[in-house]
């Protein structure tokens, strides 16, 4: 089970737990909250009670049931949009890095173009033109989130391209397709997985933002839409905190969990990213005893001293 060794890190284990719980909830939402979502079960903005643990929303629906059902939309959008971004990003990045030359130049200019498009306004415009539907939201989020993936895979491809085993495969007369699928993509996988997890986080966040702006799919429940409803129907002034705090916390938890996992996988794949490898607190810079630096012949001072330098720094672990 060495592939799952990263779960030993507490932060990653917690994040994985959060995601697993969300996934389970999304899978079993119909069982957990059978027939309760989308149905009026009590007074508008009814407070939390034993029957409705998280109270009721602006339409008298059970908030907990909506929350459970909303997990499905969130995960579908996150996974599907991230998949779109990974496919486009990998294709562009690997092609640009592997082919080089003008192909690289053209593809990277296109990537730069997508990189500078202001994402949220663009999404709003597209969602407004295409009409609000889950497919459109997935597509537009995916189309705007592949640039990072393309840049990362391109850089990694360019470095892998010069490795001995790829040069050897070329010398053997291996087809480009074979080189890419057999020798290149396997080495890109950790990077792609790490970045895909981060993309899921941004996709979920983007979906919530679109839904909050009223551009979400009106037929499906999502956490963003729950906040939007609470906001537009003045849950705030009604003091019904239970209508918007739980979905907000859920979004935050899932987004943070995805980021932590993405970061963790990236650090395991590339240990150089670990900044806490040598914590600065444990290394102290200490000036050597002053005064004796100028006269090289001296050396009568006590304490460590590097000759020929006025102030040398010595690293010591405290």
């Amino acid at each position: 089970m060495s592939q799952f060794r990263f779960l030993r890190r507490p932060a990653i284990a917690v994040a994985a737990g959060v995601l697993a719980l969300t996934l389970l909830v999304a899978l079993f939402a119909p069982l957990l909250a059978a027939g309760e979502a989308g149905r009026r079960v009590g007074p508008v903005f009814g407070g939390p009670s034993s029957a409705h643990l998280l109270g009721l929303d602006d339409a008298g629906q059970d908030v907990l049931s909506l929350l459970l059902h909303g997990a499905r939309t969130v995960l579908i959008v996150g996974a599907a949009a991230s998949l779109v971004a990974v496919l486009i990003g990998c294709a562009v990045g690997v092609l640009a890095g592997y082919a080089g030359g003008w192909v690289d130049t053209v593809l990277m200019r296109v990537t730069d173009y997508f990189l500078v498009v202001p994402a949220l306004p663009f999404m709003i415009v597209v969602a407004a033109i295409w009409g609000p539907s889950l497919d459109h939201i997935i597509l537009v989020i995916g189309l705007l989130s592949w640039t990072q993936m393309a840049r990362l895979t391109r850089a990694q491809t360019m470095s892998l391209r010069e490795r001995g085993y790829i040069v050897r495969a070329r010398g053997l007369g291996s087809s480009h397709l074979r080189i890419v699928t057999r020798h290149l993509l396997p080495h890109l996988t950790p990077l792609v997985v790490a970045n895909a997890a981060l993309t899921v986080a941004t996709a979920i966040f983007a979906e919530a933002a679109l839904a909050f702006l009223g551009l979400g799919d009106p037929t499906s429940v999502s956490w963003g839409r729950m906040i939007e409803h609470a906001f537009s129907r003045s849950a705030l002034s009604a003091g019904a905190w239970w209508a918007f705090v739980p979905p907000g916390l859920c979004i935050a938890a899932v987004v943070v969990a995805c980021s932590v996992i993405g970061q963790g996988v990236a650090e395991i794949a590339n240990p150089q990213l670990q900044r806490d490898h040598l914590p600065p607190r444990r290394v102290r810079l200490r000036a050597t005893p002053a005064g004796g630096g100028e006269d090289d012949g001296g050396g009568s001072e006590s304490g460590p001293r590097l000759s020929g330098r006025t102030a040398a720094t010595v690293m010591e672990e405290s």
Binding site: R163, G164, Y165, V167, R168, A169, R170, G171, L172, G173, S174, S175, R178, R182, H183, P186, H187
Partner: protein
């Protein structure tokens, strides 16, 4: 009968892109002459060593032969057919006949592949080897020929589980599995411990003698290969400056550069110090090749003629046929260097040159005596 491999006047120039400053100053584009007119040939069952410092163009020559880079000029022939500049498809049948072993056994094997899949990959690429069992049998055979016995125990392992020498043998086995007629080994031993070098080189020698494979061995270590090679070719700045049988090239080098390379070899006997010739400076920038003989700025013997005339590779006085050098002031055959008892590699360092016509002692800026 044509040679197995024949390279004629091979040239590989890289244009260095001009910067904005270059364009403003109207400087012409710089050209790096990685390979600058190399001609050599390898016959069946022959081991030819191409020797030179880093940056002398050895690897570029190999890559041009293998079609990994497209040479600017010149021809590469295998059994008389020109193969340079062929497209990927037309090159495939030739790729089957020439295999390579790369310098770095740590980088040239995909860390994710098993030994079995590494050695069988050439068969898959060329759609040879028939069924999976036949491929496996060929892989086992190649591994055993490369000295990995019993081969079965190596098949499921991954490169990280092998030592450097074992990895290089896996790389050689992957080169052998197609039964190539030409093997190009680019520094196959430079990353290995001295203790396993002899084993790998001996293996290459056996392949020449037993299987009739022609090998082009690229190295910077003159002493190690001299023992195994049938012919030596010494490269400097993209050109061959001296070539011939190892014995005469090493015992009676005609080119001062060869002598300097030889004297850099450590001698096992500390009492026999010989005269060390230490070259000043580095290999010049191949983008700014000196006029005249390219070696003259570092040559202890250079005179005005060397600064203006570019010598061609040709026969030298009092050397056997086949021993050629590109030098206007070839070194004389020194009497004291004749030491037939010495093993050819490493031991026949140039002893102090004495007598008439001897090598003048270090000139300022060029050589330094020990």
């Amino acid at each position: 009968m044509s040679h197995l491999l024949e390279v004629e006047d091979l040239v590989l120039h890289h244009r260095v892109p001009r910067t904005v400053a270059d364009r403003v100053a109207r400087r012409p584009a710089r050209v790096v002459r990685a390979v600058d007119g190399v001609s050599l040939h390898v016959d069946r069952g022959e081991l030819v060593a191409l020797v030179g410092e880093s940056g002398s163009g050895k690897t570029s020559t190999a890559q041009s032969i293998l079609g990994l880079v497209t040479p600017s000029r010149g021809t590469v022939r295998i059994d008389g057919s020109a193969i340079e500049g062929l497209g990927a498809r037309a090159m495939r049948p030739w790729r089957r006949r020439m295999q390579m072993v790369l310098q770095d056994p740590y980088g040239s094997l995909d860390p994710r592949c098993t030994v079995a899949s590494i050695v069988e990959e050439p068969l898959l690429i060329h759609r040879l080897g028939g069924s999976a069992e036949q491929r496996r049998a060929k892989a086992v055979d190649a591994l055993e020929r490369a000295g990995l016995r019993p081969a079965g125990t190596f098949l499921p392992r991954r490169p990280r589980e092998l030592s450097g020498g074992q990895r290089q043998r896996v790389a050689i086995a992957a080169g052998l599995v197609l039964d190539p007629s030409l093997l190009i080994a680019d520094e196959p031993v430079s990353m290995l411990d001295v203790s396993v070098r002899a084993g790998v080189l001996g293996l290459l020698r056996e392949l020449c003698d037993g299987g009739g494979t022609g090998i082009l061995l690229i190295t910077h270590d003159l002493a190690t290969v001299a023992h195994y090679a049938d012919r030596l070719a010494v490269m400097y700045l993209g050109r061959i400056v001296e070539e011939g049988p190892p014995r005469t090239v090493i015992e009676a080098p005609a080119h001062p550069y060869t002598r300097a390379l030889m004297s850099s070899v450590l001698h096992p006997d500390p009492r026999e110090r010989g005269s060390r010739v230490v070259l000043g400076g580095d290999v010049p920038d191949p983008g700014a090749r000196p006029d005249g003989c390219a070696f003259h700025p570092r040559c202890p013997l250079a005179d005005d003629g060397c600064r203006t005339t570019d010598p061609a590779l040709g026969p030298v006085d009092r050397r056997p046929a086949g021993h050629n050098a590109a030098c206007l002031r070839p070194l004389p055959v020194s009497r004291t260097t004749a030491a037939p008892d010495h093993a050819p590699g490493g031991t026949a360092g140039t002893s102090p040159a004495t007598g008439p016509g001897a090598v003048p002692d270090p000139s300022p800026g060029g050589t330094v005596m020990p």
